[in-house]
Symmetry: C2
Subunit: 238 residues, 2 copies
DNA sequence: TCGAAAGGTGTACGGCGTACACCTGACAGT
DNA sequence: ACTGTCAGGTGTACGCCGTACACCTTTCGA
């Protein structure tokens, strides 16, 4: 009665299997619970076995990012820069939606993975083919920031609202909050669904995202139309 | 010849002293080198002594954030919503500039610290007093995102450029990069100072930041002027 | 047949956050 | 002046973490 992890019957490890298991583990239990030991256990293998397929944890994380980012599809038939950019960014949003850990991991890396570079290249290409100068393209890419990946980067990440412990004292705290931070309270009150989220993930829904995205795209189009160039403050790009 | 950490002569610990030392340590050696043990050592104290002043590492990080965010000054005499918002955001940028770890720590917390709430409250207040509806204010706060704190959230954080290892093969890699990601290469080439940074921290300078900020503020002003309301897609705020 | 490689194992190390019991010195109440 | 309390610093220990290194097995081409 050898357990289900019978080493003989078990499918052989591979980089891809490791990465897929890591993604599944992060999806299921959160990125902070992803450890080499835990991942090895999920794969029915001893921790050090993983190191035959990934160099270290950093590379594992890179690989996971590429798995997720590689899943961003492209519309391909090019319907003008605006629709192309918009489509690609919303596709990225779709791809990253079900992997909440991915954005955080991407941000913590030292540079873009190949899949990320490809994504950026596609977006840059849409701008350039849409008549944006190199200069302006550079600026609008900066302005997009992490929106490139489909997420408005809020000030803080979690779904919480009240100062810190998740539910501190559900009622009294809200009173104090209203008194000390009247404008925050007003906003929170107006947009409260059921949770009292202020500017948290709970609000970062499709509508909210597209509002900000379109606001930027509108601005971009105006600058492009005006033949904008980085004159105002002297220096070239950056 | 008792060493400089003579327990008798050493100033007594306090929450404030712990926090200040933690900020200094993070500033000096990076947030990833900040451990309770290392911090205790810097203070000439045994690790567990810290726990008499902060509940745990999480609370330590919160405290550090409040130290930094609490240093954001306000212009106070109110010169119209746009200058007020702009000024406050640039003040935040100034305050966070010398603590590169702060933004990352803030993002990783579960909710805003008191100082953060105060900052947000001030910005929201500027919008409201400037004639923005609650609805529109809510949306523009989302659109600002982490720019509220003075930083454009780029896709990835570090100063790197070429795919991954810091300098992989300085020349050959650049050729491959140009071939595989032509648009990225074009942008990188155009804006290269000395390092080949693409869309990294190296570029996130004042000019770049203010470009994006003003683009958004322009958009906000237009919406305000038009009496915008969240009509287009049905639902209320979010 | 054999030698080398590829891939899984076991042990061990140094670092982390922190629970828990303990000690020490200052000080308030009698 | 004695004593009880208690804030604050100490020491030890536990269970995690990533991973270096030596080892063993399996497979497969020459």
């Amino acid at each position: 009665m050898t357990p289900p992890t019978d080493p003989a019957r078990r499918a052989p490890l591979s980089r891809e299997r490791v990465l897929r298991a890591a993604v599944a583990l992060a999806d299921g239990t959160g990125i902070e619970a992803l450890s080499m030991r835990r991942l090895a256990q999920d794969l029915g293998v001893v921790p050090m076995a993983l190191y035959k397929h990934v160099a270290n944890k950093e590379e594992l994380l890179d690989g996971m990012v590429d798995v997720v980012v590689g899943g961003i599809g492209s519309p391909d038939l090019d319907p003008g820069w605006r629709a192309a950019v918009r489509g690609r960014i919303l596709a990225a949003r779709e791809a990253l939606r079900s992997h909440p850990w991915a954005l955080q991991v991407i941000r913590s890396r030292n540079g873009p993975t190949p899949a990320l570079l490809a994504h950026m290249d596609a977006v840059i290409g849409s701008f350039r083919n849409g008549g944006f100068s190199v200069d302006l393209t550079h600026h609008v890419m900066h302005a997009l920031g992490s929106r490139l990946l489909g997420f408005t980067q809020e000030v803080f990440d979690a779904p919480a609202a009240a100062p810190h412990p998740r539910p501190p004292e559900p009622d009294a705290a809200l009173g104090q909050l209203a008194e000390r931070y009247p404008y925050v309270a007003e906003l929170a009150g107006a947009s409260a669904h059921d949770d009292g989220s202020v500017v948290g993930r709970g609000c970062d829904d499709q509508l909210e995202f597209e509002f900000a995205l379109d606001l930027l795209l509108d601005g971009f189009e105006r600058l492009r139309h005006e033949g904008w160039t980085s004159a105002p403050a002297g220096g070239q790009a950056c």
